[in-house]
Symmetry: C2
Subunit: 237 residues, 2 copies
């Protein structure tokens, strides 16, 4: 049984991992979402980050625990699980290519976060809103098209990101589209016709049985303004 350690009230980076675990029907516990009385809550997470019994603790969540093995960094967790559950290519070069794409999607996630927090994580959005308003046009007009255009180009040849089959970065790209539609609905409505293969992939992933059941369940935390994708209408305008 896998244990996932991630912030309990947001989708964030952990959502990529939750989606994969749900898609393959893996046996897992979302530890920090359990009550403290059952060994969950933030103290369970802190235990990994601060506990003096870890000589080499992880730096930050998400963290996957598989028996005695700890894995951190979202793309590496996706690769680790992908290999074990048929969502990573078997060929070494293609497996690394899937990991490259997972890292690219993680980089884009940072940009999507920094649009509303260009100055510092510690400041409230309201205290960096002017700066966010200056940053948003570049994100909307240059970064989203560059990123989506690249994925579209990859998908055009055979409909798959890598290796001619569904792999873990496709789940991640699904989640990116979900998040972008939440955070930038006007921008996405305008841009999506330019990226039909990306949207087709999104729609295909949404109908996978494990994913569809998860999205309809209360295990899927709704998007909100504490997460990475936040809907501030003024940044979408």
């Amino acid at each position: 049984m896998y244990e996932l350690y991630y912030w309990p009230t947001i989708q964030g980076r952990g959502e990529f991992i939750r989606l994969l675990l749900e898609d393959v029907g893996a046996d897992y516990v979302d530890v920090v979402r359990k009550p403290e009385s059952e060994g969950g809550g933030i103290p369970a997470l802190r235990n990994f980050l601060d506990a003096p019994d870890h000589a080499k603790p992880p730096f930050a969540p998400p963290i996957l625990k598989d028996g005695d093995t700890l894995v951190t960094q979202t793309p590496l967790i996706m690769d680790y699980l992908g290999v074990r559950h048929g969502l990573a290519p078997e060929n070494e070069n293609e497996r690394r290519r899937a990991l490259e794409l997972s890292m690219l999607l993680a980089d884009f996630l940072v940009e999507a976060h920094d649009v509303h927090h260009p100055l510092a994580k510690e400041f409230y959005y309201e205290d960096q809103q002017d700066e966010a308003l200056r940053r948003a046009p570049s994100f909307r007009e240059l970064r989203i098209p560059k990123f989506c255009g690249y994925c579209e180009h990859l998908l055009q040849s055979d409909g798959f990101l890598v290796g001619g089959a569904c792999t873990h970065p496709e789940l991640s790209l699904f989640q990116i589209v979900e998040g972008m539609r939440y955070a930038f609905p006007k921008t996405m409505a305008m841009l999506e016709p330019d990226y039909p293969a990306v949207i087709a992939l999104h729609d295909r992933i949404a109908t996978r049985p494990g994913v569809a059941a998860y999205l309809a369940s209360d295990r899927r935390i709704p998007f909100n303004e504490h997460g990475i994708f936040r809907h501030y209408p003024e940044l979408d305008d």
Copy 2:
């Protein structure tokens, strides 16, 4: 023979790879630094990013070409070369741990860049200097200590980041210290006494024969204000 494709006038992300190649004495060509008349220059780089003959081109430099194999994403290039040249652990979990740390160092590099470019890559520094001045204190007072403190903790047990031997993230940490000393000399002078193991590692890497010879050569591009680590005294004060 390896071919490295990266911007020719800055250290940037490519420098981590150059350091590894030089440390192990690998046979490599820094392609874009060659004259256009010899197949180098920016056109050689553009060929990888825009060429229609690549159905699945890389997204961005650095790119390593090893025969028919292309590798992108700095941490994956470090892992790829580390495995082939004795700078990655043989144990699977430790090898992944080295890659995790390489990804953490890459994340820190983004933060070091975004201090002077908090709004957008397309704007000049001068056009986002006020925002940079607001962002810098959080970077200096919270992010550098969090990051250096974590590395210090890892090093305290046996002096190595992972696996009880020198691995590729140690070369990367050396380069981060180099860059931070260039960009934030006052801050680093104040903070370094708190991180003796990090500095000891830096000094140990600097004396490795391949690294020392490289640093003394004209192959080492000097730090400058076009790269990732930039010295703007007002951000260091």
